[in-house]
């Protein structure tokens, strides 16, 4: 099956369309079945993926508007492979654990469309196709937040949409300018990313402007520090499933964009921007961790901790060596799983008590032992305890960035401490001590559906924490290939010096 990527993209969409016909009562089962098939398909993709090859695989190319160089062009490499698997896994688990009672059918259909756009973003190799899925992903999310969210849902959903939409339109201008540069050099129109990679470099100032245009688009999505204000609102108002998908997959689109576009297309500009971005990331890491500590709402704590972790990922991407970038990509997967699980856990307690305030809880460990245990595991993974999935990525990122700046690395390393502070204090306030609130005395522990939707995530957290190689291997192969390519492409000696390919890193050691 060479066209497995097209099947992966369009299967959920077609299933979504057909889902309109499925009866309301069976909608949930339908959603789970479709998501399970999609997940199996993505596993098949992983199995048939050649992990020794760092280049694009399963490439498909169908012309759409050849006069303007727009093609349906998809492919997958080690960087995007696991993001696709993460997408299908989190969608499946999200639907399984979904506790929404009203209009389940609409939710299932929306989620399936969202799944299409997310897979599409990660496998698109044509920039316009990428942009198409990127923009389209906003619409289902807008609906999920707006229709099933909390009291401020309309405000939160519109803020989410407009913020991202405005950023991506600036990116669109950048895309068009890039295409124009390509056209003036090659005399043909092309939006294919691989063609753009091959393009020789024009002046540094243009590179910087283009980097800036793409930066705005991606940074809003990540969200980087000054652009992060939409995220706490979106998380605060979104239903559980919305938060899970948002934190696990949608935010990763931004960091994926940096890896896929900014670094290989603008190597010189990227190297020049290491410091500014590192400082922004550092602010993200430390400032939002502090803000997280000040929150009273469990969900807001996790929302802010998400931003803090995305800062670590950004730092890793701009380490410009294979440790940093592979670590960042691994951290994307880890954060996807851990934050997804944490949001699900918060959702479960919210379903029981209809509040997310820490002050309402206390001593939950005695009435909900299973819940407390799984929450504890995920919390440890989030903090980055060794032997959990969170440690591997964070360690590699810090190791990678140490070569750029030890001071920033040490400061960023404090995030683990601050992270432990707010997470453990959350855990203490919620789970330990006597039960102070009578309403908590009769809480039921997790039922089997909730347990079984969380156990796979716990297994992954432990498995990839102990033995990350099956995932880290293919990522590393592709990242090394990309770094070599970047070094070759960079026009300034300074840039070449900064980019450490795997080869050089080994020699250096």
């Amino acid at each position: 099956m060479d066209n497995i990527l097209s099947i992966l993209i369009f299967f959920p969409a077609i299933a979504g369309l057909l889902g309109f016909i499925v009866h309301k009562q069976s909608a949930r089962a339908y959603g789970i079945s479709v998501a399970a098939i999609e997940f199996l398909l993505s596993l098949w993709l992983w199995i048939s993926f050649d992990s020794t090859n760092g280049a694009m695989q399963f490439v498909e190319l169908i012309p759409i508007i050849p006069d303007f160089g727009i093609n349906y062009y998809v492919g997958v490499d080690g960087i995007s492979l696991f993001l696709v698997v993460l997408t299908t896994l989190m969608t499946l688990i999200g639907i399984v654990s979904m506790s929404i009672k009203s209009e389940v059918k609409n939710m299932v259909v929306t989620l399936l469309f969202l799944e299409m756009t997310m897979v599409g973003v990660f496998v698109a190799l044509d920039v316009i196709v990428f942009y198409l899925f990127w923009e389209l992903s906003l619409v289902p999310m807008l609906y999920i937040i707006g229709a099933w969210g909390g009291p401020l849902r309309v405000y939160a959903s519109i803020k989410f949409f407009l913020y991202t939409f405005a950023g991506s339109l600036i990116m669109l201008v950048g895309i068009l300018f890039m295409a124009y540069e390509y056209h003036s050099e090659m005399q043909v129109w092309s939006f294919a990313l691989t063609d753009w990679y091959q393009m020789g470099w024009f002046g540094l100032d243009k590179q910087l402007w283009l980097f800036g245009a793409f930066f705005i688009g991606f940074a809003i999505k990540v969200p980087m520090f000054p652009f992060h204000t939409w995220l706490p609102y979106a998380h605060g108002q979104a239903p559980t499933i919305g938060s899970v998908i948002l934190a696990a997959v949608l935010l990763k689109m931004g960091t994926y964009g940096f890896v896929r576009f900014s670094l290989p297309l603008f190597p010189d500009a990227s190297v020049m921007m290491i410091m500014p971005i590192a400082i922004l990331s550092l602010i993200m890491i430390i400032y939002t961790a502090m803000v997280a500590y000040a929150q009273e709402d469990i969900k807001q704590v996790i929302a802010y901790s998400s931003i803090s972790h995305m800062g670590i990922i950004m730092l890793g991407i701009f380490a410009m060596n294979s440790h940093g970038i592979s670590g960042a990509i691994f951290q994307m997967i880890a954060h996807g799983i851990v934050s997804g699980a944490l949001f699900m856990l918060v959702g479960m307690i919210y379903d029981r008590r209809h509040t997310k305030l820490m002050s309402e809880f206390g001593g939950l460990a005695s009435v909900m032992p299973k819940f407390a245990l799984i929450f504890g595991v995920m919390l440890m993974a989030s903090v980055g305890l060794p032997l959990t999935i969170g440690f591997v990525g964070e360690f590699l990122v810090l190791l990678g960035f140490y070569k750029i700046s030890p001071i920033i690395t040490i400061l960023a390393g404090t995030s683990i401490i601050v992270g432990a502070v707010y997470m453990l204090s959350l855990y203490k306030k919620t789970f330990f001590g006597p039960i102070t609130n009578d309403a908590n005395k009769s809480l039921k522990d997790l039922d089997s559906r909730e347990t079984w939707s969380l156990i796979p995530l716990v297994i992954i957290v432990a498995w990839l924490g102990i033995y990350p190689k099956p995932v880290l291997g293919p990522i590393d192969t592709s990242v090394s290939a990309m770094l070599e390519f970047m070094e070759e492409k960079a026009s300034m000696q300074n840039t070449k010096d900064m980019i450490l390919t795997t080869q050089q890193a080994k020699e250096g050691n």
């Binding site: 942009y131 198409l132 707006g146 229709a147 339109l169 669109l172 201008v173």
Partner: protein
Amino acid sequence: MLTPVSVTLQELNLITLAPMLIAVIGGLMIITIDLIKDNLHKSFYVMMTLLILFIDFGATLGLTLNDRGFFDVLFVDGIAIISQFLILVASMLFIPLALTSKRFHEFSYPEFFALFLFMIAGFQFMVATDNLILIFVGLETASLALYVLIAMHNRSNSYEAAVKYFTMGALAAGFFAMGSALIYATTGSIELYAVQEILGNRLDETGLMIAILGGSVLLLIAFAFKLSLFPFHTWAPDVYEGASAPLAGYMSIVPKVAAFVVALRIFGMYIELGIEPVRIIVLVLAVFTMTLANIMALVQEDVKRMLAYSSISHAGFVMAALALGTTKGNASIFLYYALFMFTNLGAFAMLWISRHKKRAYHQRFDHPYEKFAGLIKIMPMGAVVMALFMLSLAGVPPFSVFWGKLYVMSSAVDAGYVWLAILMGLNSAIAAYYYLKLIVYMFLKEPTGNVNVVYYNLSRPLMVMIGIAVLATVASVFFAQPLLSYITYMVSASGF
């Protein structure tokens, strides 16, 4: 001694005149039929008009490129052909919208359909010539017919709209006449190709520049009225509100396409001659139009008025492409309208469907946002279709208007106007807010209740037309390529 002019039929090349003649004769035929037998049902007239438009379409297909005819007054170049296609297709989409399930006054008169066909002939004359007098004649024929069509909606604010449009149109006609006179005074010709030649030779003469600029500014004012560009746009929302919804949608497309063709001929000429102030004025007007109309659209309480302002903003968007003076920019004008046409007509048709005889929701407005609250629960299909049109208008890919926007922005970047492309991007982001506002009302709010049905006027023909609009909006990705290559070929073949 004067020799009598002898003209053979061959020389007249009447085939170039055929499309307009078909429309005029068709209009006369409808009136004649009414003389012989009155009280025919509106569906008869609708189908007759549709058939005449089909023949007209066929005649346009048969035109040869870059042909001149009728004393060389008619000039059938690429943009004339494309714009006639656009006009005819939009008209064919419009006219079946008369077949509502409820009776509306104007469609029971055959005069409505006759006037409609005369108006189309007028627009066809306007686009298929480079003679300023024939442009004027075509423009006035079309406009006069259009004023009456608006007034026939038989409501107090329709009369207001028609009179407003008429007075503004008369003022614009005055400006057009003065501008043409000034061009004639400076060049001694009213044929644009001759004007261009003479102006090109005389550009260096001292003092002439003032006359040239004066003429161009007068013409620009005339077309700013017609294209509803800032600051001459104030009539547009009132007129759109007063006209029936499909006619408002029609007015946001066909008269503008025709006016854009003429603007392309006139201002394209100035820009090609290198008269930079004209380009700057056009750019400034375009930027102000898209931005201010967008901001005005944000605060509207009525969906129809919002769509009116959004149409103005889209016109400004396209006007900016005209200022670029590149083939790609000029081609993008037509691509944009070809794609925008289906979506915008579809959106106005959705309003038409929900139109009640009496205002049931709001004292002042026919289509306040509240009317659409919770539509997803009342009419799920209707809400989805309307949301599709709104997303398309906002420029969300892969719906039709996105491809137009992409191409316009790309031509701005190519021509070196990156700031313009960024402004266009920011404007699209602002515009997304008011389109989303309707989606929010439809999907995220609870129905207001008490008033029975929103889809009041729905009938099978209307469903078919909306189905076509939806199909064109969603499947645009598949026909964008042939459309783009055809338009680019036609535009470059006529030297723009």
